[in-house]
Symmetry: C2
Subunit: 321 residues, 2 copies
Amino acid sequence: MAVYTDVQDEELAAFLATYDIGTVLSYKGIAEGVENTNYFLHTTAGSYILTLYEKRVREEDLPFFIDLMQHLAGKGLNCPLPVSNRKGEALGRLAGRPAAICTFLEGIAVRRPTAQHCGALGAALARLHLAGRDFGRTRRNALSIDGWPPLFAQARAEADTVSPGLAERTRRELEALRAEWPSGLPSGIIHADLFTDNVFFIGAEVSGLIDFYFACTDAFAYDVAICLNAWCFEADGSFNLTKGRALLAGYLSVRPLAPEEVEALPILCRGSAMRFMLTRLVDWLNVPPGALVKPKDPLEYDRKLNFHRHVRHARELGLAA
Amino acid sequence: MAVYTDVQDEELAAFLATYDIGTVLSYKGIAEGVENTNYFLHTTAGSYILTLYEKRVREEDLPFFIDLMQHLAGKGLNCPLPVSNRKGEALGRLAGRPAAICTFLEGIAVRRPTAQHCGALGAALARLHLAGRDFGRTRRNALSIDGWPPLFAQARAEADTVSPGLAERTRRELEALRAEWPSGLPSGIIHADLFTDNVFFIGAEVSGLIDFYFACTDAFAYDVAICLNAWCFEADGSFNLTKGRALLAGYLSVRPLAPEEVEALPILCRGSAMRFMLTRLVDWLNVPPGALVKPKDPLEYDRKLNFHRHVRHARELGLAA
C-alpha cells in the first residue's frame, strides 16, 4: 500500500528498452498491493502495472507466481498477464529489486460488497480453481496449519496486551484445529488472499483478480473459507448469511463442492480466521518505527474465529440445504 | 506524496454522476502532489486526476487556483484543466474534502535534468508567465520577504540543532535581504514551486506543468530564481553553469528580461533559497509522529543560499553577457 522503491526515469527507460511495449508516456507510483511497490505505467503500446518486489516476497518464489499468472491468463482468467521481454523473460531487475510488467486490468475494488458482488466473486473463485488445475507446478502453503504454531510463538507473550485472554484462547483453538483439521480434500492452486482489494469489478461483473503472491497448493474449500471470512462479515462483526448464500451459490454454479468439502467448510473457516488473526497479530506487535502502513486489526479475525466456533454445518454459512 | 483520504467506490460513483465524463473504469491512489490526495481516474470518457485538497491548502484559495488553471489551459498551456460538472462547477466535495477532477497529462518528471531539460523548462516558464498576463485575479505571495521572519521565529530556537550557527547566519541573511530586496519588478502570475516533480517531459519536450497550489502574484524573475535553484544545482551542491545558461537562454527565447530583472537575479536567488530553507526547516523541526512523508533537507537550501551570497552578477548564473 505504499511506494517503497523509487524508480528513476533513466533506469525505467533502460528497463523498458528490453521490452517490446513502446516508450513510456507516464508512470505514477500507486497505492496498491500489500507489500510490493507498484507503478501505473502508460506507454505508446498501452497501460501496464510495473511491480517491484520488496523483501517480504521470497525471490525464489517469484518464478512460480509469474508462471502461474501466465498460465491463468492463458486459460482466459482475467488476471494480470506478466509481459515477457525480448529475451522471453517476464522477470527482470529494476532499481535493485526483482521487477515485472503486467497488463493493466480495469475495474474497481469494492469496499463494501453487496450480495451480488459476493455471488460474482464466488463464481470467479471457482473459475480460478478450474483454470489452475492443469498448471504443472506446486507450492506449499506456508500459512496453513503447520505454519500457525511458529507464528503464535512469536506473538504469544504479548498477545494479552492486545486482548485479555487472547493467548489462552488461541492456544486452545490451535489444539482443537490440530485435532480436527481435515486432509485429503480436493486440492490445487488457490489464491489464498482473495480479499476485496484483490478483486476488481466493473458494475456487477468481476473484471479482474490480482495479487497472486500468496497463491499456493491447498484445498479449494480452504480458499472458499478465506473468501467467506473476507466478504461476508459486516463491519460490526456480524455474519451476513445472504452474502454467504450468494458467494457459495456463485461458486457452485461453476464448480461443485464434494460432500467432504461441505463437511469441512466450518473448520476451514475457523482455520482461515486463525491464519489471518495470527499474521495480523504478529504484524500488530511488530510495527516498525516510521512504518508507512497501518497494521490491520487482529481482533477482527479473533471475532470471526469465535463466530465459526459455534457453526456446526455449512448451511449456517449459507450453503443451500 | 501520499494518499491521505480514502475514497469509497460508492461515493466516487455518486460524485462522478454529477459530471459528464462517463462512468468509472478504474481509480488508483497515486503518490503525486505535495500535500493533497490524488487519484488516477480512468472513465469511459478518458483519463483524469481526481484531487482531494487536504488541510494545508486553504479552502478559500481554491477558486483562485482552479480559475487560474482554466485560464492557462485556455491559453494553450499544457497544464491540468479542471473539468466542470453539469452545474458548471469545477470544485466539489468528496469524502469530506474539497475535490476537483482535472484532465490527465502524459509525461515524466525527470529527476536528474540535463541542460536540454533546463532549456525546455526555461521556455515553458516564460510561456506560463505570458499566458498568465491577462488573468484578472491576483493572490499575494505569502512566502516572500514579509513571510520569512514569522517562519524564522518558529524555527529559530531549534535551528542550531540542525546545523551549528544556522540561527545566526539566517538572522544576518534576513537583514541583508530586507535591505537589498528589489521592488517594482515586472510582475504577474508565477508558479512559485516549479520543482522537477512538477514538470512533465516526453523526450526532450515539456508536456505539462502541474501543482499550481503555490501560484501567486509576484516578480517573474523570482520564479526564474526558484527554477535556477531547483534545476541547476547538482546533488553534491555545486552549481552547474551550463544548466543555468540553458535555463536562462530558454526563458529569454520566449520572454526578454528587463535590465532591472537581470540586476535583481542574484538577490532573488538568495531570497528564493531562503524561502525554501525556512519552510523546510519548519517542517523538519515539526515532523508529526507517524508522518507518512519524509521532510526535505533544509540544509540543501542553506548551502544554495551560501553559494548565491558570493554571486555578483547574473552572468555567474548563466546569463549570456
